[in-house]
Amino acid sequence: MIITNIENIPGMTIVAQYGLVTGSTVRAKNAIKDFGAGLKNIIGGELKSYTELLTEARKEAVERMKMQAKAMGANAVINVRLATSSITAGAAEVYAYGTAVKAEPRG
């Protein structure tokens, strides 16, 4: 499955559109890592455990979007956007959305 965040797929023609597909996830780390991040927050610098959390959340959101597109019979998702929001301290939401399309190689 091809995922792009531009309006076309270079080298391919879009033959059918299936509409919007979305995927979202809210994740949290465990209490121990939250405590560690709280200490790191006072000292300063990168919060590695939360970075990890964000990476996992992004992967999962994109994966859910892909599953939805696959169920529709699409083979690509174009114009994908990733959005993040904060719900509560120590949790991350990542939301991915795009247009599911069917694309064929040109020529």
């Binding site: 091809i2 995922i3 792009t4 965040n5 531009i6 309006e7 076309n8 797929i9 270079p10 080298g11 991040a37 790191k40 927050n41 006072i42 000292i43 300063g44 610098g45 990168e46 919060l47 939360y50 970075t51 959390l53 964000l54 990476t55 992004r58 994109v62 994908v80 956007r81 990733l82 959005a83 993040t84 929001s85 904060s86 509560t88 301290a89 120590g90 949790a91 991350a92 990542v94």
Partner: protein, 149 residues
């Protein structure tokens, strides 16, 4: 009295740790940015992409980072915002975070020729309704990596 002493100790310690961490981070950012010059080229504006060359791979690449200020920066910014003006202590935190996210995105697309339509998304993830909370900023940079044959 002891409370003021404790506060002063925390401020001095976090001033030292924060400065050291920031200096090292900037050093590593500049080093990696120089190493990544022109491979892959990143482009922030393109909405479409057309090329006569054969394309091997198209994929979404991204880089994430959660960066935090320190207690001293928070204290300095609180004082500064009383008078107004630039909060330089927080500017450097956000600058470091964004550059780090873009570098991670580029590193994850090492073999690609271009990364087009790069977007940078950021959100504060701490509980900003409580007093004296040090800001934590989550940043995602993403774009479409294109590799030619």
């Amino acid at each position: 009295m002891s409370e003021i002493l404790l506060l002063l100790t925390v401020i001095v310690i976090t001033y030292i740790t924060g400065t050291v961490i920031e200096k090292n981070h900037y050093k590593s950012i500049i080093k990696r940015e120089v190493a990544l010059v022109k491979k892959p080229i990143i482009n922030a504006g393109a909405k479409t992409w057309n090329s006569k060359k054969k394309i091997k791979k198209i994929e979404l690449v991204s880089g994430e980072v959660v960066i935090s200020g320190d207690y001293f920066k928070n204290f300095a910014a609180t004082l500064k915002s009383f008078f107004g003006g630039r909060l330089t202590s927080f500017e450097s935190v956000l600058d470091r975070g964004r550059r780090e996210a873009v570098i991670r995105m580029r590193e994850s697309a090492k073999g690609a020729n271009f990364i087009i339509n790069t977007k940078i998304e950021s959100v504060m993830i701490n509980n900003y309704y409580s007093n004296n909370s040090v800001p934590q900023c989550a940043i995602i940079a993403y774009g479409t990596a294109i590799t030619y044959e």
